[in-house]
């Protein structure tokens, strides 16, 4: 160590001459030994280490760690919310499906009802028409029967007249004298038999 630096350090350190002597001895030892055991550099290292640690501590505790903590919390919240939203949507989808099935079933029931109603209507109309047709047919038949009866009665009277006339003619032709009353009764009796 040169004299100039010696005096300079002496001036700056002032009254620590004995300590300085010790540091000098340490220097001598360090030049051949471990730099780690060079105690003259300890103060320097500890000073800068303290500064570095304080700097890291403030950067971490004031900026980095709260920021990361908030990001992690936010992410956890987002994930939880998303899962909840997904559950919600799933429930809604299930509800929608149920509503759809319900609507489908309702529509089926409605359709069946409409079909049944239509069938019943048609059946009623049909029944009415059939009844009317039946009534018409009955009326027509009765009419026809009446006409037939009339014709038959007409025919019978005609036959009776013809029979009376014929019987009178036959009796006259045979030389007898026809009694109108007895001929009529005879013809009537015959016709009945």
């Amino acid at each position: 160590m040169s004299n100039t630096t010696e005096t300079a350090t002496d001036a700056s350190h002032g009254a620590t001459e004995t300590a300085h002597g010790a540091v000098d001895a340490a220097h001598e030892a360090a030049s051949g030994g471990l730099p780690q055991l060079d105690f003259s550099t300890f103060g320097n290292q500890i000073f800068w280490l303290a500064l570095a640690l304080i700097a890291i501590f403030f950067v971490l505790s004031k900026v980095a760690l709260p920021r990361i903590a908030s990001v992690l919390a936010e992410r956890r919240g987002t994930i939880t919310n998303d899962i909840a939203a997904a559950e919600d949507l799933k429930v809604k989808a299930q509800e929608a499906e149920e509503a759809y099935n319900q609507a489908l079933a309702d529509a089926r029931v409605e359709a069946a009802k409409i079909v049944a109603d239509a069938k019943a209507d048609i059946q009623a109309d049909l029944d009415v028409a059939i009844a009317k047709a039946d009534a018409d047919i009955t009326a027509k038949a009765a009419e026809s029967e009446a006409a037939i009866a009339e014709i038959r009665a007409g025919a019978e009277a005609a036959v009776k007249d013809v029979a009376k006339d014929t019987a009178k003619e036959i009796i006259a032709a045979m030389g007898g004298k026809a009694d109108a009353r007895s001929v009529t009764s005879a013809v009537t009796a015959r016709m009945k038999g």
């Binding site: 051949g32 730099p35 780690q36 550099t41 320097n44 800068w48 280490l49 501590f57 760690l65 908030s70």
Partner: protein, 252 residues
């Protein structure tokens, strides 16, 4: 400073410890307590790395993170879970403190693996400060939270009465050895690996074509050192959590 090359007459010259020398960044003056040195530079770089990874990496605050944000979140989750699992749920108040230790150590270790760099955690002064911080924190928190009940940590009530004084003595010694082992474990591991690499590199320099052997050895040791860089940061942090658990719940 009288850092002479101590020139050996000839042949093999290996100075595996030169890489740990602390020298001023500007000029060749003395190293006073405020002189910016190579140690200062690499500590500042560690701080810069922490800022880049933890602050700039997370600046998007994205719900779906990109790569850099994922890394920052992974580091956060890794240490947070460690604190919660090892030290207990009531220790999460110490999380920023423990995260600071972890980030500083892990970045110092990895920056130290860059060739020609300086490893701040290879110096006992640095690791001793870190370990003493933990030791003082644990001791103060232990007494503040539990009062004299904290001394129950040394009195193993589950052991037979006759054995308890002996165990108490052992417990007290082990308690005060903690900062020592805590700091030397980190510095020792980092320093040893770097020194071994340097020794092999020295061999490689003089072996000509045979240098392939030490160079493959360097590759293997370097791979191991990458592992050690992370594991030692992890070990330091988890031990801090274990000690903190003692302070918060001193009963055995």
């Amino acid at each position: 400073m009288t850092v002479s090359a101590a020139a050996a007459p000839s042949g093999l010259q290996i100075h595996p410890m030169d890489q740990f020398k602390i020298s001023p960044l500007f000029g060749n003056g003395d190293v006073t307590w405020w002189t910016p040195t190579n140690a200062t530079l690499w500590m500042v770089l560690a701080v810069v790395c922490v800022v880049v990874m933890m602050v700039m990496g997370t600046s998007r605050r994205a719900i779906v993170p990109n790569r850099s944000q994922s890394i920052a979140e992974m580091a956060y989750g890794f240490v947070y879970k460690m604190v919660e699992d090892v030290a207990g749920k009531d220790a999460v108040g110490f999380f920023p403190y423990i995260m600071t230790l972890f980030m500083f150590i892990v970045f110092s270790n990895f920056l130290g693996l860059i060739p020609m760099s300086f490893t701040t955690t290879s110096h006992i002064a640095v690791t001793a400060v870190l370990a003493m911080l933990v030791f003082l924190t644990v001791t103060i928190v232990g007494f503040v939270k539990n009062g004299t009940a904290f001394l129950g940590l040394f009195w193993v009530s589950s052991a037979p009465l006759a054995l308890r004084p002996v165990l108490a003595l052992i417990e007290v010694i082990s308690y005060f050895v903690r900062p020592l082992s805590h700091s030397i474990r980190l510095a020792g591991n980092v320093m040893a690996g770097h020194a071994v690499i340097k020794v092999f590199a020295g061999f490689a320099g003089v072996m000509g074509i045979g240098a392939i052997l030490p160079i493959s050895a360097i590759v293997a040791v370097y791979a191991l050192e990458v592992l050690v860089a992370f594991i030692q940061a992890y070990v330091f942090t988890i031990l801090t959590c274990v000690y903190l658990k003692d302070a918060l719940h001193p009963s055995h």
